[in-house]
């Protein structure tokens, strides 16, 4: 079912990347005036976007962190692309079902003070895991002091500013902001990121313990105040040839009644034969906006395993883009979305296969258990001309538990190569009456049965999380959402 190619408005501005050797000076002028011919053709359309970008730049320049060539490259490429972008509307294919207007109509403020929360709170947040973990508050690492005892030599985890190795600096500069098909939010992150958290795994190095990156928003507005602090965490993961690491990216809630906007981005580069197991857990406040980009670049024979469980946010939007840059790659993407509130969970994924013998499996499952809840899935797998012998499977299953609950799913395989094995399936259903009856026939009331079945629906995805403690934590969180009384 090779279906429609989306005409993304963001394809218009494909710029020749700024050469890293001649970084432009970053000034606001970059946003207002431009002299490159490419940009002249573009319309400087959206004053709102420019205004947000400007305030972001202001907030960044007040930070003392000296600007490295890497940050410079990131900010320059991002500001340039912003010039041609406008705030997405429902007319844009990528946002057809996803309403971002509540963000637009809020007073967006970049977070001002990166570490205002008292130390004790933060210690509590970072203490409850035995794994190496980084706590990232409003985009800034706050516990970089924690010794990464569990990490082998040569591995670097920390802020860009404390990278001392030449080799790592060079690689980081090479890969940062390497992706050019992002949208407005990708670019806003690039402009507003206060620093880049770097994870570097050298050649042949296998990191046994999963690394936890725990994100937290400390600045927030009250519901109804219209005040929306925005943070822009950014992470770059570089795994060299044969290296392996597991990353657990966790977005914590904070106060459920508070409003904030997390606009996060992660870039992952996996070298030949390398492997990244990436878990992404989104449990932010039900009044928060959570927009997230993940860009993955897979060299030959590398493996990328992604497991997402998103339950939080008024709007949760994940853009996952996986680009194959060599043959024999393995890609597995599993997602579980749960909407128990008036909220939207959205996954836009795109896997581009340009080389032979790639194998990819994608499983998307979502439950909408609220009458004004919504789940959106646009899963594109592109099997290009040279990607012969690709084996691609895609499956999406949705469960609608309330009368007006909605899902918009668009699994799509675009196949240009001719010798490929592709399968896909989509189903939307209600809970199986026969299953509920089986519970009642054993004396279990239908509410308990419903909860068990909802949990079981997501269990397939949750089971793929890498550790028992994480699976338990996620399961308990979902149990709490389904049964608020027992919390």
């Amino acid at each position: 079912m090779a279906s429609s190619t989306f005409s993304s408005p963001f394809h218009l501005h494909r710029l020749t990347p700024t050469s890293p050797s001649t970084p432009k000076t970053r000034t606001k002028l970059n946003l207002r005036h431009t002299s490159t011919p490419t940009l002249l053709r573009a319309t400087l359309s959206d004053p709102l976007v420019l205004q947000i970008a400007e305030t972001l730049e202001d907030s960044i320049s007040t930070l003392s962190s000296s600007s490295s060539p890497t940050l410079q490259k990131l900010r320059d490429t991002s500001s340039e692309s912003l010039l041609t972008m406008s705030w997405p509307t429902r007319k844009d294919e990528q946002f057809r079902f996803t309403d971002t207007s509540f963000i637009k109509h809020s007073q967006i403020h970049p977070v001002s003070n990166p570490i205002p929360t008292s130390k004790s709170d933060l210690v509590a947040l970072s203490a409850d895991t035995q794994f190496p973990n980084l706590l990232i508050v409003d985009g800034v690492i706050v516990n970089c002091l924690s010794p990464f005892g569990g990490l082998p030599g040569g591995v670097f985890v920390g802020p860009l500013s404390s990278v001392s190795s030449e080799v790592i600096s060079k690689r980081v500069l090479e890969f940062v902001s390497e992706f050019h098909d992002g949208d407005l939010f990708w670019s806003l992150n690039g402009v507003g990121a206060p620093e880049v958290t770097v994870v570097y795994v050298p050649e042949g190095c296998r990191v046994e313990e999963s690394l936890y990156l725990r994100f937290y928003s400390s600045e927030n507005g009250d519901v109804g105040s219209n005040y929306l602090p925005m943070s822009n965490p950014r992470v770059l993961v570089v795994v060299e040839k044969g290296g392996e690491i597991g990353i657990v990216e966790e977005y914590l809630s904070g106060d459920e009644d508070k409003c904030y906007w997390t606009n996060s981005a992660m870039e992952i580069s996996i070298g030949e034969g390398g492997k990244v197991s990436h878990s992404y857990i989104q449990q932010q406040s039900v009044n928060a906006a959570h927009i997230k980009w993940t860009y993955v670049r897979q060299e030959s024979s590398s493996t990328y395993e992604h497991v997402e469980v998103s339950t939080g946010g008024k709007l949760g939007r994940h853009n996952l883009h996986v680009q194959q840059v060599g043959p024999d790659t393995v890609t597995e993407m599993s997602t579980f979305h749960l909407c128990v509130h008036d909220q939207t969970q959205d996954l836009h994924s795109k896997l581009v296969l340009d080389h032979p013998r790639g194998s990819s499996k994608q499983l998307h499952k979502c439950i909408v258990a609220h009458s004004s809840g919504q789940a959106v899935f646009d899963g594109n797998v592109k099997v290009n001309r040279y990607a012969q012998k690709t084996d691609a499977g895609q499956l999406t299953r949705s469960l609608l538990l309330e009368p007006r609950a909605t899902v918009n799913v668009k699994p799509n395989l675009q196949i240009i190569a001719d010798d490929v094995k592709c399968s896909h399936g989509a189903s939307i259903s209600d809970l199986e009456e026969d299953q509920i009856f089986y519970f009642s026939a054993r004396g279990i009331d239908s509410n308990t049965a419903r909860r068990a079945l909802i949990l079981s629906f997501g269990a397939e995805v949750i089971a793929r999380l890498p550790s028992d403690s994480l699976r338990k934590q996620v399961q308990n969180h979902i149990k709490g959402l389904l049964n608020p009384a027992s919390k």
Partner: protein, 325 residues
Amino acid sequence: MAASLLQTPFSLSCLSNLPSNSLIFTNSTLLSLHLPSRTTTRPNRLSLKANVSLTNNSPLTTTSTSGLSDNEKGKVLLEVKDLTAVIAESKQQILKGVNLVVREGEVHAIMGKNGSGKSTFSKVLVGHPDYEVTGGSVMFKGENLLEMAPEERSLAGLFMSFQSPVEIPGVSNISFLQMAVNARREKLGLPPFDTLQFYGFLSPKLAAVKMDAGFLDRNVNEGFSGGEKKRNEILQLAVLGADMAILDEIDSGLDVDALQDVAQAVVGLLTPTNSVLMVTHYQRLLDYINPKYVHIMEDGIIVKTGDISIAKQLEEGGYKSISPA
């Protein structure tokens, strides 16, 4: 009897020392049942079975009629009168006036051709939403069964093993059983079992139905073989107990050994006060669990009732040999 849920099972090794015609134990468990092995001659087994009476370990048994050895005069447990039912969706009538009385301690069998309505009858009794009762009445333990929700019927002591149990991916067998047992305990005002306590409660039941503990961590019925599903149904019966167990083709799909295991487990659950209604096509099962009455169902009604000899007649001459009474 609710207390039986709390107690650690003990082995009744004294079984063989007791007179064989009126064995009454309290708080026993399935483990305590020592049937003769398969190598024993049939008459022996049957006569022992007929006289063994173990007190129900159902958490819900409220009647206490200990000492009752003559189950001829048992109280009426289930009374079905002129029951008619249709398929809810199509309104097609399936049950056309079923009459049946089951007393405490009795074993009944229903036989009948494919499609005659046996499973429909069983499912209507436990309140399956696919069917709508259009007439008649059903009293269970003196209460109007038809007014009760399916889970209430179960909690009241009515159990049905499904002919084709549904698979529930993502829910482990053990957590399903734990939910079911805790629902009963809640009804009795008892605190729920935690996982450890539950495991202690469960393991003798598992042994009684000779089921591998590995099945506990698997998802309910998912990927189970036909026989494993049946055994799992009996495990549920053993765990939950029942005053009245309806077993819909518990014997189909079982190999010889499995049939014996399952039959032994069912026999082990028999007491002077609880009853079994078996739906079966074969005499085989009836040899293990000797029914007092055999009913023949045809096109939604019971057309003939007799003793075990009907089953034999059927085995030899088929349904044409049985003339409606």
